[in-house]
């Protein structure tokens, strides 16, 4: 009778087989799980994503309170003379803005009166809601952020998001208390835009480079477009997502493409997308 001592070749072979079997099982399990998850219907995948993401909610609350505490600590060490200087600058700015608001109110009244006379439809006023940016996309190949407003605050997909400087993007996914905002420059955020010049050239704002998110491409401009560096770019209102007239940025340069059939321009965004803290969601 042959006895196998521990450590003899047969025992080693058995252990090796078990080792390999365990590895194969793990590999198969993970592959099958991932294939199932990747082929889930988009609605189910979105719900699953929201459910998994909600595990992080307590930490985001903690992070925002930490930011607030740090901000307050920063305020506490600001000198009195600095505060007085800031106060004076803000008082002057406030006066200027009040004057501009008075002029704008008068212009709005005149606009409404003229529209009534001509019989055009009245323009709806913008309804804005403030939201705080709670996180940025961890992947380097997407440009998205998440804000602390969800369906409980009336958020829905495709609502425009902006700052006081200009357009930021649109809401691409909504959960109960969070929303994902896809920023301008992301491949999934195209904006119908117009150049503020004599011919009002129209184009589409597409994706940016992966490195510099402040410069975006404006494509589909006609070959005869009267472009000049420094011209303002605003939303054209076409496409139905973004209302007309929201500032996007300024033309930096332009070039002919497709053997001179079209013109492409590079646009410097008005809003600083790398330092987003608070944004406004626009309800149409």
């Amino acid at each position: 009778m042959i006895r196998h001592e521990p450590g003899t070749p047969n025992k080693k072979l058995e252990t090796g087989l078990m080792f390999k079997r365990k590895h194969y099982i793990a590999l198969a399990l993970v592959t099958v799980t991932i294939l199932v998850i990747l082929n889930l219907p988009s609605r189910t995948a979105a719900r699953l994503k929201t459910a998994i993401g909600s595990i992080f909610l307590p930490l985001f609350g903690l992070a925002s309170s930490t930011h607030r505490v740090l901000d307050k600590a920063g305020d506490a060490i600001t000198t009195r003379s600095e505060l007085l200087r800031q106060n004076e600058a803000l008082r002057l700015e406030n006066q200027q803005l009040r004057m501009q608001a008075l002029q704008a109110q008068e212009a709005v009244r005149e606009n409404e009166r003229l529209r009534r006379l001509v019989g055009w439809q009245q323009q709806k006023r913008w309804n804005l809601k403030l939201a705080r940016v709670v996180l940025r996309d961890p992947a380097n190949w997407w440009r998205t952020v998440q804000i602390d407003r969800g369906t409980k605050d009336g958020m829905r997909v495709d609502l425009p998001v902006l700052t006081t400087n200009g357009l930021v993007g649109r809401i691409s996914a909504v959960s109960y208390d969070r929303s994902q905002v896809v920023l301008i420059g992301d491949p999934n955020c195209k904006v119908a835009a117009q150049i503020v010049n004599s011919s009002g050239d129209m184009g589409v704002i597409g994706s940016s480079g992966p490195f510099d998110g402040s410069l975006v491409e404006m494509t589909h401009l006609s070959k005869n477009a009267a472009l000049q560096p420094g011209q303002d770019v605003i939303t054209s209102g076409l496409g139905g997502i973004f209302p007309e007239g929201i500032p996007i940025g300024k033309v930096v340069d332009f070039r002919q493409v497709e053997y001179g059939l079209y013109t492409e321009a590079r646009v410097k965004l008005a809003a600083d997308l790398s330092a987003l803290d608070e944004v406004w969601v626009l309800f149409k």
């Binding site: 592959t31 998994i52 992080f56 961890p138 992947a139 190949w141 997407w142």
Partner: protein
């Protein structure tokens, strides 16, 4: 390898994903966010069992994708493959050497984004890629390489703090008894 070690690795995975989304200081300076999960996969593959390595890759990938615009589950397979490959060769790796940890972290951090990008492209959702992505890849790879020995040190420190320590062997040996005096 014990339960506490596994819990530490999984907790580190959770916190790493949160850090990547909530703090963007490195992104603002270098133009790319560092990916800590490949570094943690190296730690998991070398210091825990296959079950923990698998669990870390699945949970880490799902956590990452849930807070990103990635299709859900796309990050799991690259992380798992890296962890799996290292785990199968763990007996041949000098896991306590900082240079070995750095090289493994560098390789893992370089490989995971490429595999993930390929999977996303296969899924038909073109991400934002261009020449600038090369710089981002270098930042992610080098950052991951540097982060790996740090992760090893931190996990080791917490393990020493929270775990029972192995009893040290006495220096006294019975077979080397010194006999004094003359017979």
């Amino acid at each position: 390898m014990n339960l506490l070690n596994s819990i530490l690795v999984l907790l580190a995975v959770f916190l790493a994903v949160f850090w990547e989304t909530a703090f963007s200081g490195i992104r603002n300076v270098f133009g790319a966010q560092i990916h800590l999960l490949p570094a943690l996969m190296v730690c998991a593959a070398l210091s825990t069992g296959l079950a923990t390595t698998t669990l870390a890759s699945v949970l880490g990938g799902l956590f990452f994708d849930s807070l990103s615009a990635n299709p859900l589950g796309v990050s799991v397979l690259p992380l798992f493959l890296v962890g799996f490959a290292i785990h199968t060769q763990r007996e041949l790796i000098l896991r306590d050497q900082i240079f070995a940890q750095f090289v493994l972290g560098l390789s893992a951090s370089g490989l995971v984004p490429i595999l993930t990008a390929l999977l996303i492209l296969t899924k038909g959702e073109p991400p934002l890629l261009g020449w600038g992505s090369l710089w981002q890849w270098i930042v992610v790879t080098v950052g991951g390489g540097i982060a790996t020995p740090i992760c090893f040190q931190l996990l080791g420190m917490f393990d020493r703090m929270l775990n029972f320590q192995a009893a040290t062997q006495t220096s006294f040996r019975h077979d080397r008894e010194i006999r004094r005096g003359r017979k």
